[in-house]
């Protein structure tokens, strides 16, 4: 239902890029395009660096999709199918560093017959244009944009109009500089990776994966879900590694095959398991879940399923493993499968295989990021070294034995991932606090230290208050937002913490995936339990010493009456910015070179009406996710998107200094939105000290600290019993 609405919100331009969402299932001649298995190679860049001639392959892909989609797609701008039409439709978006050669770009464009938008020359010249724009300061940029705005002729019936190419032509061109080196880097890394992957004979894959892959697709296919593959799907089509699967055909042929297979395997839910585990995996409702996540071992043993008992899903997981190992036998790796409604993303991490089956509209990249979170959460409990060791010794080890009791933590993580934008932005959300109060809290933490203490973290209402770090450790490595997210999830997932003081081994996978820290966790304000202290030590015997630190912190807080001040602190409302029409935003500043050791943070107001209900919150987050996926698209990264949705208007903008997502009321005009952003940026600048932790304080625990942070945490004796 919700998805359908979103589909409607899709502006015309977008529709062109996603022809499949319009193919009604009955139109049988669009069979081939229904699902694609993509192997290493999800972007057109591959073609630039691929050893095989890229163009023939590409045009093949285009041909097949156009022949299928063309007839049923009156809105399509041309018979060129997805590849070119996407290009055409996106001409009014600002493009970011794209390493398509100009020649190719031009040739692609020429394929677009009805491309009504700017000419190739304009396009090419604009490339340097944007680079220039991004070098301007924020204010300048905004004013430039509004300048363009005045010049521009808004494109007729199109509801999405991103400051278009024509508009930008009006700005005098300047030197082309790479404003966003990281993007270029990313892109080139990617193509590196793609190059590494071997080509697999399309026919082979097709033959094999067809029945299994598509069958699986079918079985969890809800009715009213719009195309989740969107842009990426399009890209797959033009990729030389693209394999087309006759999903619909198999549906008809196989009918109820897979579900019945499932029902054989399903067992009655066992005992007093949590409700998620109780679910009947043969039920329609199970298939309709928005996002499934499965974890299995390389031997195909089920380890975790977000919904339903993983035991009951062993045959489904068997199919997944069969897909993975079949492609592996061709010296390749399966990355994703696309169908009308679902995106299936595969990820192998050491001996574990993680699979996400999603009908949310998220990009493959985003889903992959979420799977990495799941993997890292498992690592945080067991360490990568021990997982690898266990499976080295015994291939068919049942990891559930070790993860027993942790399902809740994984469930909690997946719920957080769905509801908390921190994961999307890979940044930490900290609670707005007067900088003087934050400083005094940091000082309290800084005073209560003991040897081998590495991080002191203060959390309130699931948001960061302050973090204090050991100097030498921080010179060595930094605490990644992702690690902090895992810690926050761990704290949130266990009510047991509220009982007393916890001392537990925990691994920070991004800091060091093979070693344990020892975490001391305790609430400072029992029985309310809102302010949580987290102390991380490298010494497993340090409990009493670390507990003593907590006493000192307790005392310090009491003398300064800090708890009461913290209780008063709360998130802010978008209306405080004083910009009408601005409903919500997310602002993530990038690290500036001189304090690049700082934790990546973002700020965002409370979601208020009309986004107060859960469904509306999810809807807004979905829109943000969509914007994010366009901005961070591997193949066509964008800098600026102005997106008119049905019930709101969004504007996302990324520069070298920040990443910003804003949501306005639907009646906002482009000019006023840009004006609002200028005001918003000024407001954020003014409130900076309040919204962010400006410089995380450091301390030195001993004049002669235990030799190293990274290496020093190694704990060999710990897992010998495993």
């Amino acid at each position: 239902m919700e998805e359908v609405q979103q589909d409607r919100e899709q502006p015309e331009v977008m529709r062109c890029t996603e022809p499949r969402s319009h193919c009604s299932p009955i139109e049988t001649d669009s069979l081939e395009a229904a699902a694609t298995v993509s192997l290493h190679g999800s972007s057109p860049e591959v073609q630039d660096c691929g050893t095989e001639g890229p163009f023939p392959c590409k045009s093949d892909g285009i041909k097949s999709s156009s022949s299928t989609n063309g007839p049923s797609e009156p809105e399509l701008q041309g018979p060129g199918g997805e590849g070119p039409s996407e290009r055409a439709s996106n001409t009014n978006e600002v493009e970011r560093a794209s390493d398509l050669s100009e020649v190719e770009r031009a040739s692609n464009l020429s394929e677009v017959e009805n491309a009504s938008k700017p000419s190739e020359e304009e396009r090419l010249s604009n490339l340097s244009e944007e680079e220039r724009v991004s070098n301007l300061s924020e204010e300048e940029m905004v004013s430039n944009l509004s300048e363009e705005e005045r010049v521009s002729i808004p494109s007729e019936e199109e509801r999405v109009s991103i400051p278009s190419e024509e508009e930008r032509v009006s700005i005098p061109s300047k030197v082309e500089t790479v404003s966003n080196p990281s993007d270029v880097e990313r892109a080139s890394n990617l193509s590196e990776e793609e190059r590494l992957s071997n080509e697999v004979s399309a026919g082979e894959i097709n033959g094999q994966s067809q029945p299994q892959g598509s069958a699986k697709e079918e079985e969890d296919q809800p009715e009213n879900v719009s195309d989740s593959a969107s842009t990426d799907n399009t890209l797959e089509d033009s990729s030389e590694f693209m394999v087309t699967v006759l999903a619909r055909a198999t549906l008809e042929d196989q009918g109820e095959g897979p579900p019945s297979g499932l029902s054989e395997a399903s067992t009655p839910a066992q005992g007093p398991a949590p409700s998620n585990q109780d679910e009947d995996v043969t039920a329609e409702s199970w298939r309709r879940h928005r996002k499934h996540v499965f974890v299995l071992s390389e031997a195909g043993k089920p380890i975790y399923s977000r919904y339903g008992n993983e035991e009951a899903l062993s045959s489904t997981m068997g199919v997944m493993m069969a897909l993975v190992s079949f492609v592996q036998s061709g010296d390749n790796a399966i990355r994703s499968i696309y169908s009308d409604e679902h995106t299936v993303v595969f990820m192998q991490q050491g001996p574990l295989v993680l699979v996400s089956v999603s009908c949310s509209r998220q990009s493959e990249q985003q889903l992959r990021g979420e799977l990495i979170y799941v993997y890292n959460q498992i690592v945080s409990m067991l360490t990568q070294a021990s997982i690898n060791r266990i499976f080295e010794r015994k291939k068919n080890y049942d990891l559930r034995r070790l993860l027993a009791g942790s399902e809740k933590i994984l469930d909690g993580l997946l719920n957080l991932v769905d509801s908390d934008p921190s994961f999307l932005l890979s940044a930490v959300h900290c609670l707005p606090l007067a900088s003087s109060l934050r400083d005094s809290l940091s000082q309290i933490l800084q005073k209560a230290i003991t040897p081998n203490l590495v991080f002191s973290i203060l959390i309130a209402k699931n948001q960061l208050l302050t973090i204090v770090q050991e100097k030498t450790v921080i010179e060595d490595a930094r605490l990644e937002p992702a690690d902090l997210h895992l810690l926050l999830n761990l704290i949130g997932a266990s009510s047991a913490f509220q009982a007393g003081e916890i001392w537990t081994p925990i691994c920070l996978p991004l800091f060091n995936p093979d070693c344990y820290f020892y975490a001391y966790i305790s609430y400072l304000d029992p029985p309310e339990c809102t302010v949580c202290l987290l102390l991380l030590s490298t010494d497993k015997e340090a409990f009493y010493a670390v507990a003593e630190c907590k006493r000192k912190i307790d005392e310090g807080m009491r003398t300064q009456n800090a708890l009461r001040s913290i209780a008063k602190a709360q998130s802010y409302s978008a209306s405080q910015v004083g910009v009408s029409d601005l409903r919500h935003f997310m602002y993530k500043p990038f690290d500036v070179p001189d304090n690049h050791r700082q934790l990546t943070q973002f700020t965002s107001p409370e979601m208020e009406a009309p986004y107060s209900s859960e469904e509306e919150k999810t809807r807004l987050l979905d829109l943000y996710r969509y914007m994010h996926s366009r901005i961070h698209s591997n193949s066509r990264p964008l800098k600026l998107i102005y997106h008119v949705a049905e019930r709101e208007t969004l504007l996302a903008w990324v520069t070298s200094k920040f990443e910003l997502y804003t949501c306005f009321s639907p009646l906002v005009t482009k000019a006023s939105a840009i004006n609002a952003i200028t005001k918003l940026l000024r407001w954020i600048k003014k409130e900076e000290d309040h919204l962010f932790i400006r410089s995380p304080p450091k301390y030195s625990t001993t004049p002669n600290p235990s030799k190293s942070s990274r290496g020093g945490t190694t704990d060999n004796g710990f897992l010998t019993l495993l």
């Binding site: 007393g500 916890i502 001392w503 307790d554």
Partner: protein, 224 residues
């Protein structure tokens, strides 16, 4: 109450132990498979509350002061996680404990089997008579679904010379009796000289936190 718990810093309590303490520190560890109610027992011991809780992560540390006729005993309760992934760490928690409670769920046969394994494990670590080991059948309020009879538990405990009790953390049945019995037994066992040596050993872990303590140091002194 909180203040009282925190009253004794390490140095003070060391002093107290040496001067025939009035406030004795007793380290007690709760062991057993997951879901038998260790955390609920611990919560009963310390706060006399009952709350359904999520599985414990690592180990929770709680304290409770019990008054005996001639001394006060400060129980430091280490509530360990029953899950297998933490089994390799539990020695960290039960090392040097004065009292160990092995808990099983009277409605779960396998938890009783698991308890016997825990008892074997403990035998390797402790001299009999030096550490008070108790066997606790929890969830006595659910006696309708009982799978382990009272006699069985009693027989097992008797064969090993252990304290035995059936409790219910939910209803609070037998909880304070259990705590008092342990307190008395611990006090009795530590009256002997050996006991005091052992106590100081525990302290030293805290005092020289800077040096990495010998992983087996305390075990060797305490254990066989």
């Amino acid at each position: 109450m909180m203040a009282e718990r925190r009253l004794s810093s390490r140095e003070e309590s060391l002093l107290e132990v040496q001067v025939e303490a009035r406030l004795l520190r007793v380290k007690m560890v709760l062991l057993g498979s997951s879901g038998v109610g260790k955390s609920s027992l611990a919560l009963r011991f310390s706060k006399d509350e009952f709350k359904a809780s999520a599985p414990t992560i690592g180990c929770a540390y709680l304290t409770q002061v019990v008054c005996l006729h001639n001394a006060r005993i400060r129980f430091e309760i280490w509530d360990t996680a029953g899950e297998e992934k933490y089994h390799s760490v539990t020695p960290l928690y039960y090392r040097g404990a004065h009292a160990a409670l092995v808990v099983y769920d009277i409605c779960k046969r396998e938890s009783f089997a698991r308890a016997q394994l825990w008892l074997k494990e403990l035998e390797k670590q402790y001299f009999p008579g030096e550490t008070v080991v108790g066997l606790v059948g929890n969830k006595a309020d659910l006696s309708d679904g009982r799978k382990v009879s009272l006699q069985e538990g009693y027989r097992l405990a008797e064969s090993k010379g252990l304290l035995f009790m059936e409790t219910s953390a939910k209803s609070g049945q037998q909880i304070s009796e259990l705590l008092m019995t342990i307190a008395e037994r611990v006090q009795k066992s530590t009256r002997e000289d050996r006991g005091l040596v052992e106590w100081r050993e525990v302290e030293s872990v805290g005092l020289h936190q800077g040096e990495r303590p010998h992983p087996l140091g305390t075990c060797c002194l305490v254990g066989p």
